[in-house]
């Protein structure tokens, strides 16, 4: 080999492979019956397979979360641009500026997420491939395990077991590291995703998720401003008209109206005839009240009897 004679410089590749081999040998040395090693190792392989599949699922979940956030940010960015356009068309450059500033912030978060999304996607693919490769190796190991058990005595089996074991052990080490890397990446992404969620909740990126949108409410205010003004004017007009009418009405009929309001009631009671003897007794105490003026009546009687609201119907009655 190239670095022959330089024992200390055996190169990175060789050294790493020796580290892996040492690891496998250490595990093998612990086993007393070599054939037990096969079953024990096979169990660990199955566990690792489960773990790597779970790893794939975790990365996928994380990727989907990032995807969701990307969609939200994209919507926000689009909406903010619409708002900026609308604000400009209303001559509110200050609002447009604010909307665009937020859009730019949302956009930079979005770019960041896109990079992370690509990383997660790559990680997911790698882990999926690793999981398939490990599955194939585990299957090969199982076949070889059965052959070794059936054909060889414990002593004879040793070499073949060592071969199978170091082969699978290297794969397991590799996959184990891949899972670790994927977990680290996922954890990083989750931390960032959490930070973005917080940022959205704070309103800095103007999330569409339901909290108050001050730019929109200001735009709404401006655009509905003219409507409000005209509505207000209309209502004011109505109010003034009805007040005038009322004032005129009270001025002319105020006192008598109050008396009239009670009279139909009394008439009704009277109409109940002989079967309502208490009625006459009922009436006298009210008489002084009616005789007194407007104000006590207003305070004491039910709303329906208030004369102020009923000028016109009473006019009709009278």
């Amino acid at each position: 080999m190239y670095m022959k004679g330089t024992a200390a410089r055996m190169g990175v590749m060789k050294r790493v492979s020796l580290v892996f081999k040492a690891k496998a040998n250490k595990a093998l040395d612990k086993m007393e019956d070599p054939r037990e090693t096969l079953d024990y190792s096979y169990q660990r392989q199955l566990e690792l397979l489960t773990k790597v599949r779970r790893g794939v699922a975790d990365v996928a979940t994380s990727r989907k979360r990032v995807e969701l956030q990307m969609n939200q940010l994209q919507q926000s960015a689009n909406k903010l641009e619409d708002q900026a356009r609308k604000a400009l068309s209303m001559g509110r450059e200050d609002l447009a500026r604010e909307a665009l500033a937020r859009k730019s912030s949302a956009q930079s978060q979005l770019n960041d997420l896109q990079a992370q999304y690509a990383q997660l996607q790559a990680e997911e693919e790698k882990l999926t491939v690793a999981s398939q490769r490990l599955q194939a190796k585990v299957d090969a190991f199982r076949t070889r395990k059965e052959t070794i058990k059936a054909t060889y005595t414990a002593a004879e089996a040793q070499t073949r077991i060592n071969e199978a074991f170091s082969g699978i052990s290297e794969e397991m080490g590799d996959v184990g590291m891949a899972i670790q890397r994927a977990e680290d990446k996922t954890a990083q992404m989750q931390a960032r995703a959490g930070a973005i969620d917080e940022l959205m909740a704070s309103g800095a990126l103007d999330d569409l998720g339901g909290h108050r949108d001050d730019i929109q409410s200001e735009l709404d205010m401006i655009s509905s401003g003219s409507d409000v003004e005209s509505e207000l004017a209309r209502l004011k007009g109505e109010l003034t008209a009805s007040q005038r009418k009322q004032i005129e009405g009270s001025g002319a009929n105020g006192g008598p109206q109050a008396a009239q309001a009670q009279q139909p009631q009394q008439a009704q009671q009277a109409q109940q005839g002989p079967y309502a003897p208490p009625a006459p007794q009922y009436t006298p105490p009210q008489q002084p009240q009616q005789a007194e003026q407007y104000q006590p009546t207003q305070a004491g009687l039910p709303v329906a009897d208030l004369p102020g609201l009923g000028g016109e119907p009473q006019d009709g009655d009278g």
Partner: protein, 92 residues
């Protein structure tokens, strides 16, 4: 001989290719020793490219230990150092 790229799988490469790889590997090792980040990145990228270009992927159902093992492509220099000293990078 069999070369594994961590996170990627195993490749079978001819012995004369392995000699070329060793040349690049020496550069990689010296880059790690001297903490030369640029040289490290270049050497690792060339090594991986060479293995991918010259090697034939080993079928997944073949159980063989590799003669040489290469760090995965996004490895940092720090990760490679840990790999070399076996400080817990390889699980199990």
């Amino acid at each position: 001989m069999i070369v594994r790229i961590l996170g990627e799988g195993q490749f079978r490469v001819d012995d004369d290719v392995a000699a070329e790889l060793n040349q690049l590997d020496t550069e990689l090792e010296s880059a790690v020793e001297h903490s030369d980040e640029d040289k490290f990145t270049t050497a690792l990228a060339s090594l991986l490219a060479q293995v991918r270009a010259q090697g034939a992927p080993l079928p997944a159902d073949i159980l063989e230990a590799s003669d040489l093992i290469l760090p995965h492509e996004d490895s940092s220099m720090d990760e490679v150092r840990k790999l070399l000293t076996d400080e817990g990078l390889i699980p199990g």
